[in-house]
């Protein structure tokens, strides 16, 4: 049963051009790719390769310019709650009057009708997520008063609380401490065990080679996708990064 499910692609992108504007070159051209339940994929490529665009398109923030994106076999947009997206730090207002626990509770908002208060189950899910990310002690702290690594954990806790089928993370390892990096990686494995499909955009190639089985290499198009041994070759990396690329 489980086996059958894991053979159905959860994300299917078919002949898609992805980007913001119709009058400019798309950020990513002619994308056809499928991801399956439990896939844990590192998305790599130079700056401007289209990593963020790919994430934003899958989550539905940018409609494809051409082609189709299907999630669970349904058109993009049909699933409000099953895709969780952790954006780059810059898009959040860190001065906002909100505590760590409140941010994590936002993960439940897609499941709570607006006229109802969070249920006992919602609260328990939130506390579990705080615990997993080792931020229970910070729960009543204002988000502004957390360190960069702690803030990153708060947002991952929010995604845990959302119980998504797909998790997209844009540069989660930027400017975080080693402890946070380890907690994030440990929890990505928890997501994998729960058959969550995870896409992580990152610059850190050594981290990729040690922790991710699958790698998607982008540079305005798909350069390579597959197991890390197949993708992380000098030849393919040079194709994406140019001659200067030095493989860690």
């Amino acid at each position: 049963m489980n086996n059958d499910l894991s053979q159905m692609p959860i994300i299917q992108i078919e002949g898609a051009d992805l980007g913001y504007r119709t009058d400019a070159e798309p950020a990513l051209k002619d994308i056809t790719i499928s991801f399956y339940p439990g896939d844990m994929v590192a998305v790599i490529g130079p700056n401007g390769a289209g990593k963020s665009t790919m994430m934003k398109s899958i989550v539905g923030l940018i409609p494809p310019l051409k082609g189709e994106i299907n999630v669970h076999g349904k058109l993009h947009g049909a699933h409000p709650d099953c895709v969780s997206y952790i954006p780059q730090r810059e898009s959040i207002d860190w001065n906002y009057p909100i505590t760590v626990r409140e941010v994590v509770m936002m993960g439940r908002y897609g499941k709570i009708p607006f006229y109802k208060n969070p249920s006992e189950k919602d609260r328990k899910t939130v506390e579990d997520a705080l615990k997993r990310m080792e931020i229970t002690a910070l729960a009543d702290r204002k988000i502004r008063d957390c360190s960069g690594g702690q803030q990153q954990r708060v947002f991952l806790a929010r995604s845990l609380a959302q119980e998504p089928h797909i998790l997209l993370m844009d540069e989660p390892f930027n400017a975080v401490d080693l402890a946070t990096e380890k907690i994030i990686l440990d929890n990505l494995r928890v997501f994998k065990e729960r058959h969550v499909t995870t896409l992580v955009a990152t610059h850190d190639l050594s981290l990729v080679s040690e922790n991710f089985e699958k790698v998607l290499l982008l540079n305005k198009r798909i350069i390579a996708y597959g197991n890390r041994e197949e993708v992380l070759t000098d030849k393919k990396l040079q194709l994406a990064y140019g001659k200067k690329a030095i493989y860690f």
Binding site: D93, M106, I135, R141, Q150
Partner: protein
Amino acid sequence: MAVLLEPFQYDFMLRSFAAAIMVGIVCSVIGTYMVVRSMAFLGDALAHAVLPGVAVAYIFGGNITLGAMIASIVVAIGISVLSDQEEIKEDTAIGIFFTAALALGIALISTIRTYAVDLTHVLFGNVLGVTTDDIRFILITGAIVLLAVTVFYRFFQVVTFDPVMAKTLRWNVKLIRTGLLVLIACTITISINTVGSGLVTAMLITPAATALMFTKKLYTTMLAAAGIGALSGFSGLYLSYFLNISSGAAIVLVATLFFIIVYFYRKLFPYRNKKIEA
């Protein structure tokens, strides 16, 4: 002692107190969103946008408050629609709409010969002239705004904190933002009698900014701001009775005083987190 209670003997003063307190509360609550989203300019813009509505109502002998409300809601929706275009940023949209509305208001007013007295009330408020009908309008509209903020709390919270997440949840972010702008427009309209369109920004921004210095959550900020706003409304009006100064100005000055006190208190006793190992 009797002298101190004197203001409460008059019906018009009681009405004024009710208006000032309600406006203090509603402005501070809705103003909290404006402070956290840095929308002070928007408040000023909407406040000036009431002018053409007032002028049209005045010329045709209609209800001035209703005219003001329609004008500010139209401008709020206009800003929302215009800033949706890719080429136009929100503050540009605000700048365009607000100056256009102001110009239209001035143009209309310049056609009227006897406008002086009534229209200065729009700019600087005349809380002592609040009628029973006015107070009913202020209380009902204020209650509706507060109810909307309570019922749609989560929507406004997510859209102002992390609009990207709101979009990933497939919420209609545009509609929620427009709704918030309309609530701000309604709040400004009911403030015109009390503090006037020239000073309403202070009531929207100052109490919320004061509260934000010592609160951690959105709703505690709103509650604290409401308390500060209500107290400013009450004591400003009370002082203006004895000092014989403009009530709107007195209310704003009291609110500013609260801000200064809290600001220096925080400077002297900075907020510190308990050390937590994590």
